[in-house]
Symmetry: C2
Subunit: 531 residues, 2 copies
């Protein structure tokens, strides 16, 4: 497997850098997020005069090149089918759409943590804080926490723009939470609160990317936010392949090889993206592996962009989340040694508050003048939303033993996490029981990324339908079962291999239906296309 991967990879990259041969459908889909302008990409043409002055020929080609599979074509089809279910019930072979395409837990019935929502509601409408009815409706510690937060906001004005890095008192709370997690100091002035992790990633890409000569090392498969952001900022995605055969292992030798290869093509590689726990791959890095990655970044002068939004989502007893900051500091590396950005979000974990758009990045190892530039860019958008800021402080500082809400909080949290672990295992086992499917363990995050060994006949049928083979499979799955998964080609994969990403998020009572529908579909599909 490894040798196969390396060989295929080399030829794919060679073709990519030299633009000699047409790319396969999966490659071009992945590589559409790179800076390579092909002849099909229209260039700006000021002489164009349609009824609107804005056409595909005249817009920014970086926008054209950007792709985001998680909300791509398959979701558009799903939305059409959902409307059909409403308009003409009974005409489809299923009675609901099961969205397994996106890490959006509350859309599938996961309930928010009560304490968090109590505090948010009180901060939204502080004038009820000293009313007697409020005591009956809200926990005592949520009221106390709301007062504490209001006192941290200048003028108690929850409707005002805050400091562009976020409210100082909330950053203090977050820094204390990071310290408690890592056992090493965290500085509130290193925290930049953002509307979810995505804008934070964009900010760093914007800072680091000047042109297509600037490269960002990204895992393949990767969360397509990275390829989309690199495309929008006009940089070059330098892929490093995770090794499927060793449970999506991250090999330093592969990083080195890809770095050297990119350098030899004149690419100035600026940063390394690591997603831990992995998305879409679900693996949790071992601490030793993380130390090697830190050492690599230090030696090569790369910024380490650590996507740590799944830090609470670890499901296996033999693995534990370690932040890259903790690992760096444990190696004796401080501010002067490594430039490190850690991304965190309120959207994932056991909280799953995607719609609140809260998150932060912890920026360490940058000079004061660079931090000023980051601050300046943050200030152009004034600040992130205050509810999201409050929530980010809450997830980094949940109720503690002895607080009135502690036990209900703990039960809600543990209930969600243990259920996610069971769902991951059930789905993984079900997938592995299918002929032609192999699936690594979801040690963490919210996804499985099974490999489908598609028969030649299916691949040919996909070609005839002018689509990637995994997209062909996923579309048929959706049409037959209502289950929405994302083709592997949206995340990148070793050319010639096919995968899909499936979340573990349907509620537990739906999992048997997912398993049986998927199993039935897969058997029929394989029967139809068996070589």
């Amino acid at each position: 497997m490894r040798k196969f991967a390396a060989g295929r990879l080399k030829s794919a990259l060679t073709r990519y850098y030299h633009k000699q041969t047409p790319l396969s459908s999966s490659q071009s889909r992945f590589l559409s997020s790179t800076p390579v302008l092909d002849s099909a990409t229209p260039m700006a043409d000021s002489s164009s005069h349609s009824s609107s002055p804005v056409t595909l020929q005249t817009i920014n080609p970086k926008v054209l090149r950007c792709e985001y599979a998680v909300r791509g074509e398959i979701v558009n089809i799903a939305q059409r089918l959902q409307q059909e279910l409403l308009d003409k019930p009974g005409t489809l072979p299923f009675d609901e759409i099961l969205y397994c395409n996106i890490g959006n837990p509350q859309s599938l019935g996961q309930q928010p943590i009560t304490f968090f929502r109590e505090v948010l509601a009180l901060c939204d409408h502080p004038s009820i804080l000293d009313k007697s009815e409020t005591q009956g409706l809200f926990s005592a510690d949520s009221i106390e926490r709301a007062w504490k937060i209001l006192d941290q906001i200048p003028g108690r004005a929850t409707g005002a723009y805050s400091h562009s890095q976020g409210i100082k008192g909330l950053r203090d709370t977050i820094a204390a939470g990071i310290e408690a997690r890592d056992g090493c100091p965290a500085d509130p002035n290193d925290i930049f609160l953002t509307d979810g992790a995505s804008p934070a990633v964009h900010m760093m890409m914007q800072l680091l990317i000047t042109s297509e000569k600037d490269g960002i090392l990204c895992p393949i498969p990767q969360y397509p936010l990275y390829s989309a952001s690199i495309a929008l900022h006009g940089g070059t995605l330098v892929p490093y392949y995770l090794e499927e055969a060793s449970g999506w292992g991250l090999e330093i030798s592969e990083l080195k090889k890809q770095l050297e290869d990119a350098k030899s093509k004149g690419i100035n590689v600026r940063a390394l993206v690591v997603i831990n726990p992995g998305n879409p791959t679900g693996q949790v890095l071992a601490e030793g592996n993380q130390r090697d990655i830190v050492e690599f970044c230090k030696q090569e002068g790369l910024v380490l962009l650590a996507d740590e939004v799944y830090q609470e989502n670890v499901y296996v007893p033999d693995k534990k989340f370690h932040s890259f900051k903790k690992v760096s500091r444990s190696m004796g590396y401080g501010e002067a040694d490594i430039s490190l950005v850690s991304f965190q979000s309120v959207s994932k974990g056991y909280y799953g508050e995607c719609g609140k758009r809260g998150g932060y990045m912890e920026v360490t190892g940058f000079s004061a003048e660079i931090r000023e530039q980051i601050y300046k860019v943050a200030s152009v958008n004034l600040c992130s939303n205050i509810s999201g800021q409050i929530l980010a402080s809450l997830v980094m500082s949940p109720p503690k033993v002895g607080d009135e809400s502690y036990e209900s909080y703990r039960d809600e949290r543990d209930g969600i996490l243990s259920s996610l672990a069971r769902r991951a295992k059930t789905l993984e086992d079900a997938l592995n029981s299918l002929d032609g499917i192999t699936c690594n363990k979801a040690e963490g995050a919210m996804y499985l990324f099974p490999r489908i060994n598609l028969p030649h006949k299916a691949i040919e049928a996909a070609k005839a339908a002018n689509t990637a083979a995994d997209a062909f499979y996923c579309r048929q799955l959706l049409n037959a079962t209502g289950i929405v998964v994302v083709p592997g080609s949206g995340f990148g994969q070793v050319p010639g291999t096919w995968h899909f990403r499936c979340t573990i998020l349907p509620q537990e009572d739906k999992i048997p239906a997912v398993v049986s529908r998927l199993t039935d579909f897969h058997k029929k599909f394989m029967d139809e296309y068996r070589d």
Copy 2:
């Protein structure tokens, strides 16, 4: 005045386009947001090896070039002084900092509209909706509205990512609000909900700007979000000057002149930004003027980017807000005739909910394929925050006559707006009473933009201090009085003229102090520097 402006303008532009002579401090500050690379701008240098791989020499020069005066140096000084007031009370000649630099009403004590906050709190914590205590704490119509909104959200999941354009039911409400405002149809599918108006502006700039060959016509003075966004996306700001002598009038002849001038330099002008009511200038466009602008955009094939975030902030009886969409439709121009984007925000108006980061853009007159591209970019960031989305629906659909909250809502709204009108008039009169200051009326928005006729001696002193003359004035004002205003050079102005932007937002009981401190300072300043 007009002739003077045109002459100075021409020579400034000539120098700008031909890069022949050094620019004045105010020009270079304004023009720093343009694509012109000067020799002082460091270029990427991959050989640099400091302790951090990221230096001013290696980051994206577009980030370096971007400036945002509203949160610039003057605010940093103010924050230091505020800390000094806390640490060493009594050592400064004032006892509080009065932030007149930014349109952030609630930071200065403006209270949120109760009904809006009730609904937000209930949507944040829906499980209290059917508790009996809730009836005592919340108005009946806020409970009803919260139920209605929850029913519009799939699965009532306020913590889930929504559709990337925003929750469909909320877009329906907003479209209905636009229809009621304009008296012509609005389509919910034209609405893109965003985290405030700023990300919407960035999205359009990203779509339209491919390189420095793409120009955007912007008013001067302008809200520096525009210059910052154009700089970040690498385009060229094509200035058109508002005519101070006619109350910041927008002359079509000036638009034409600047458009032709830009075209002759090889700039492909894509869009025209109009801010109405004006920021920082406070004027409200007459309908006839708006018709001319629409006609100009249609004739020249320009996208009209209409910043209409101050649509509720009109203070003079002889002026009324008309949306550009209404004006276009009243001229018989529909989807096929003009590409128009209207930006709206929950941060301004009488609501002033800046920290909630809610807003939308209404996108009309673009082809389906271009709208797909806009949707794709929106989808990369998944969605805007749900509380901001809800609030955007509320400001476009506030309580109506007969609703339980109507009267309190109306009183809160009218109290804020009439107070803002009084504050605008008091400050305008006070400024106009000062020797060497002339100030146009604030017909709308939240700002005054007085012109300071600085003595030669002051200008020389500023030069000696290596700063723009208006920044010199504003800094001295801050140090003497604690009043924070933004130098005109941060917004752009006719070269050789000096201004500052001052919000009308300090609470009414503070206005006399602002007036007397400003008056005292100005007299002393003029006495010190009189020629």
